[in-house]
Symmetry: C2
Subunit: 190 residues, 2 copies
DNA sequence: CGAGCCTGTTAGCGGGCGTTAACCGGTGGT
DNA sequence: ACCACCGGTTAACGCCCGCTAACAGGCTCG
C-alpha cells in the first residue's frame, strides 16, 4: 500500500514505525489494520506481534517519541539561549524544521492522541504541556505584561501555523516562509 | 454521553448532526459507534436510520456543510470588498469567527476528510480548493510579485493559526489575539 | 550435530459495529 | 373509524479486525 523499499537502512522495528506513521497519517489509526501494516512492510498480518505487543503500542511509541523529541529540542534551546527574543527565534526554527521534515508525524500527533491508551496519553500530554510551557515562558519574558492565557494561545497558534506543513509544499522556501510568518505573528504581541 | 438537552430548538436531524460533530471531534469518526450517537440524543441505535441513510452520510453532511459555508462566506467578502488588504482583513475576521464559534467542526474537518466516501470527498476538496483560491487571489493582489505557491502556503499557514481555536480558550480575547497574529503574519509577506 | 531462539507462516476465536428486518404505538387526514 | 405514515423499538446477520495458537525454517552457539 505504501512504498515498500522506502526506508534505506533500518531494522524491522524502525521500518514498521516509519510505515505506520505514513499509514496512520493517511488513513487514521482506526483506518489502518494490522494486516495493512504488515503488507506495507512485506510481511503479513500477525508477524507484527514479533516486534510490538499490539497495535496501540505502535501509536504509543510514535507519539511518545514525538513529544519527547520536541521537548528535548525545546529544553536544549532554552538552556543555551538567554535572550528571550533570540530563544523564540530558535524555537521557531527548531519546530519549523521538525514540522517540515516529518509532516506525517505532525498529522498523527494531534489526530490520534485520543486513541492512545490512557496512561500513555497522560504521558504525552504531560510532555506536550512542558514543551508549551517553554514557549509560554519565553513569550512572557519577551513581552512583559503578556498574560499567561494569551501566551498559551499564541504558542498554540504558532504551532498551528508551523504545523501546516502537511498542506504546504515540501520546498525549503515554504518552510522559510512559515518561519517568517511565525516570527512576524509573535512580534505582533507587542 | 454528551449533554442531552444541549441544542435548544432543533429538529431531530439537526440535533443528531450537532451531537455527531461533538462526538466525532472528541473520538474521531471510527471511534464513535452508531449506538453512541443514538444514545447521545436519547434514542437508541438503529433509529438513526430514520433520519440518515448511514453513518458516512452524517460525516458527509457535516463536511460538505462546512466547506460550503466557508466558501460562501469567502465569496461574499470577495464580492463586496475591492481593496485586497481590506479583503484579507475581512477574510481573517470571517474565518477566525467561524473557527472560534465551531471548534469541533474545525477538528472534524481536517481529521476525518479521509473517511468520506470518495465522491463527497471530491466535492469537499473542490469547495476547499475554491475557498483557498479566494485567499490566494487576495494575497497576490495585496503583495504583487508573490508566487502562487507562496500564497498558497501562506493561506494554509493562516488557516492553521486561526484553526488552533480547539487548543485555545473560548474567550473573545483569544480570538482577537489570533486575528492580530494572523494579520501580522500576512503583512510580513512584504 | 543438536538445542534454541528469532522471525516468519496460516488457521481460528471472539467481539464490536454497521446495517437490515420485523414489529409497534401515536397522530393526522379522509 | 380506518389507514398510513412517522419515528421509534429489539433481534439478528455478517463482516472485519485485533489477537492468540500452533507450527516451521534458518541461524548461532555450545
Amino acid at each position: 500500500m505504501a512504498t515498500p523499499a522506502a526506508t534505506p537502512a533500518s531494522s524491522r522495528r524502525e521500518q514498521i514505525l516509519a510505515v505506520a506513521a505514513q499509514l496512520f497519517a493517511r488513513h487514521g489509526f482506526h483506518g489502518v489494520s494490522i494486516a495493512d501494516l504488515g503488507a506495507a512492510v512485506g510481511i503479513s498480518g500477525p508477524a507484527l506481534y514479533r516486534h510490538f505487543p499490539g497495535k496501540e503500542a505502535l501509536l504509543s511509541e510514535l507519539l511518545v517519541g514525538i513529544s519527547e523529541h520536541l521537548l528535548a529540542g525545546g529544553q536544549a534551546r532554552a538552556a543555551r539561549t538567554e535572550d528571550p527574543h533570540e530563544l523564540l527565534a530558535a524555537l521557531v526554527e527548531f519546530h519549523a524544521d521538525f514540522a517540515h521534515r516529518e509532516p506525517e508525524l505532525i498529522v498523527v500527533q494531534d489526530r490520534d492522541l485520543a486513541n492512545l491508551p490512557a496512561p500513555d496519553r497522560r504521558t504525552v500530554r504531560r510532555l506536550q504541556r512542558t514543551y508549551v510551557e517553554i514557549w509560554v515562558d519565553a513569550l512572557q519574558r519577551a513581552h512583559p505584561g503578556l498574560p499567561v492565557d494569551a501566551a498559551r494561545t499564541a504558542a498554540h497558534g504558532t504551532f498551528g501555523l508551523l504545523n501546516s506543513t502537511p498542506h504546504a509544499g515540501r520546498s525549503p522556501e515554504a518552510a522559510a516562509l512559515l518561519r517568517r510568518m511565525a516570527l512576524a505573528s509573535l512580534r505582533s504581541l507587542s
